[in-house]
């Protein structure tokens, strides 16, 4: 059953995933797949950007297709350790109106303390561009053995957000709560199923949002609400790598309030990206 509300998917990829079949690969088919699940708008990025040496080439390939449809809010992927990252940034802003830039530090092999990351963060904050930081794209246990990419530490993303309080940061791929982190310490994880009264247990920076496609812990959305403010949670499908319906139902079937569901499905993303679902 589809939720009877507009849904803004902030996390879908357009293109070819190198490790297994994940149709569809083109923007029109991706749009059709998401619409069939009730998604009304989607912020999409080029899947080829994970492994291509210059992700700007992936932006050049996919963003024109995405920008042609009002269904999509195109999102660029940059590697801010590349010498010419800022040219790509400007081109994506001017040519395709990009409102969110994503970085993939675990796939592009750098730390968030790299000077290029701070330079991108300053530029994005000045332009009111959202910075997405991907901490996980796959289950590390089943990755191709020639391409093992461990999850990126969320605490490093928290530190980046605190260094740049005017920057708005979205974490993509935050998932298993037993991955050790200061943001959600193990003692708090153990309380989730025992304490219905727990509220906003994690000390999330005010300029940080959590995308939920990988967040799974018993009653996932309700438990996310025990850790984080409702206005900081974002619906994402991680399509086409995941079945999009899984993440629709994660929110729709939860015991959370309708208000919290609407915020995650739609209004939080609308406010963050400045476009309607």
């Amino acid at each position: 059953m589809k939720p009877n509300v507009p849904m803004f998917d902030v996390n879908c990829g357009c293109g070819v995933w190198p490790f297994r079949p994940t149709p569809p690969a083109d923007a029109a088919s991706l749009q059709a797949m998401l619409r069939a699940e009730g998604v009304t708008r989607a912020c999409a990025y080029p899947l080829e950007a994970y492994l291509w040496p210059d992700p700007q080439e992936a932006n050049e390939l996919r963003l024109p297709q995405l920008a042609r449809s009002s269904f999509f809010v195109p999102s660029a992927v940059l590697n801010p350790t590349m010498p010419a990252w800022s040219k790509g940034y400007l081109r994506c802003r001017e040519k395709w109106g990009v409102r969110m830039v994503r970085i993939m530090p675990n796939y592009h092999l750098y730390e968030l303390t790299h000077p290029g990351v701070d330079a991108l963060a300053r530029q994005a904050a000045a332009d009111r561009v959202v910075l997405g930081v991907l901490v996980r794209a796959e289950d590390k246990r089943m990755q191709n053995p020639i391409a093992k990419v461990p999850p990126f530490p969320i605490d490093d993303v928290v530190a980046l957000a605190r260094r740049h309080p005017r920057l708005r940061v979205v974490v993509f791929g935050f998932g298993r709560l037993w991955d050790r982190c200061e943001l959600v310490p193990p003692a708090m994880v153990n309380q989730l199923q025992l304490r219905p009264d727990l509220e906003k247990g994690a000390d999330l920076p005010e300029n940080m949002w959590i995308e939920l496609s990988f967040f799974e812990h018993e009653s996932s959305f309700a438990n996310a609400l025990k850790l984080f403010p409702a206005e900081r949670l974002l619906f994402g499908t991680n399509a086409p790598l995941f079945y999009p319906r899984a993440n629709v139902l994660k929110i729709e079937n939860s015991e959370a309030s309708k208000r919290a569901k609407t915020a995650a499905f739609r209004t939080n993303a609308e406010k963050l990206l400045g476009v309607k679902a």
């Binding site: 297994r20 079949p21 994940t22 149709p23 699940e37 289950d139 590390k140 246990r141 089943m142 990755q143 191709n144 053995p145 093992k148 998932g175 199923q193 025992l194 219905p196 990988f214 799974e216 812990h217 018993e218 009653s219 996932s220 991680n238 399509a239 086409p240 790598l241 995941f242 079945y243 999009p244 319906r245 899984a246 993440n247 629709v248 139902l249 994660k250 729709e252 079937n253 939860s254 015991e255």
Partner: protein, 252 residues
């Protein structure tokens, strides 16, 4: 929807310490996602015979509290020897248990599985076996698809549910696709697209069963990976409940 979830854990192992809140959530959350029956699994790889009996008794108490919702599966420990295994298996089946669970501490291909496999065949109940192909974080003694296949070949009259479709992946499916006594459940990590369709293409829809791995996982998205797959309504019904009802001989 009336789904049967073939892979749900509970953590009640001491009769005097019943975690009521967690158990109630097991039921409430399932029903919110259209699951109205669950196969309830316990552990016990390193338990003594007495401890294991208590684990199984906890599961039986849950069945008695709501027999329409909780289907109980026993745990048996291969190290306990044939006599203890067969006595406990018979006791549990006579009390109403419908399956056997084997977890990551027991290698499916080990010869010590013989009495458990024989008990399952004699009592006409399936074994749900933990399995995974991992590139990192492999547990000691953890079975993969080839281990499950080896057990299934040695015991063709024993029905085995290989757990974690996404965990065993395409290699695991191919390990068992020609073994009609092996089923697979749809659990195992996140909801990788195309995996359910792959299992159906290779094994046939009648040997694929919905499972969530709750509470480590969440019923809702795990149901979504089946209902969101590119399959016919009839095939989804088979995966969600018809196949499990037939395997467990339920009147549903």
């Amino acid at each position: 929807m009336n789904a049967i979830d073939i892979h749900v854990h509970h953590r009640w192992t001491k009769l005097g310490e019943r975690p009521d809140y967690q158990l109630e959530r097991t039921r409430e959350l399932a029903r919110q996602s259209g699951v109205d029956t669950v196969l309830l699994l316990t552990g016990g790889s390193h338990a003594t015979p007495e401890q294991l009996r208590e684990h199984n008794d906890c599961t039986l108490r849950l069945m008695e509290s709501d027999p329409d919702f909780f289907l109980p599966a026993m745990y048996l420990c291969a190290q306990h020897g044939a006599r203890v295994i067969k006595d406990e298996a018979r006791r549990c089946v006579e009390a109403g248990m419908v399956a056997i669970k084997q977890s990551s501490g027991q290698l499916a291909s080990d010869a010590n599985m013989k009495p458990i496999a024989e008990a399952a065949a004699e009592l006409e109940i399936p074994i749900l076996f933990h399995a995974w192909y991992k590139t990192v974080e492999l547990f000691e003694g953890e079975s993969n698809g080839a281990d499950v296949a080896a057990l299934a070949r040695r015991h063709p009259d024993t029905r085995i549910i290989m757990a974690h479709l996404t965990g065993v992946g395409r290699r695991g499916v191919q390990d068992v696709e020609d073994l009609p006594n092996v089923y697979v459940d749809t659990s195992g990590g996140w909801y990788d697209s195309e995996m359910v369709e792959y299992a159906v293409r290779h094994m046939g829809v009648d040997r694929v069963l919905y499972g969530s791995d709750y509470p480590g996982r969440d019923y809702a998205p795990q149901v979504g990976r089946v209902t969101g797959a590119k399959l016919s309504k009839r095939d989804k019904e088979k995966i969600l409940w018809r196949n499990a009802a037939a395997l467990l001989k339920l009147d549903k």
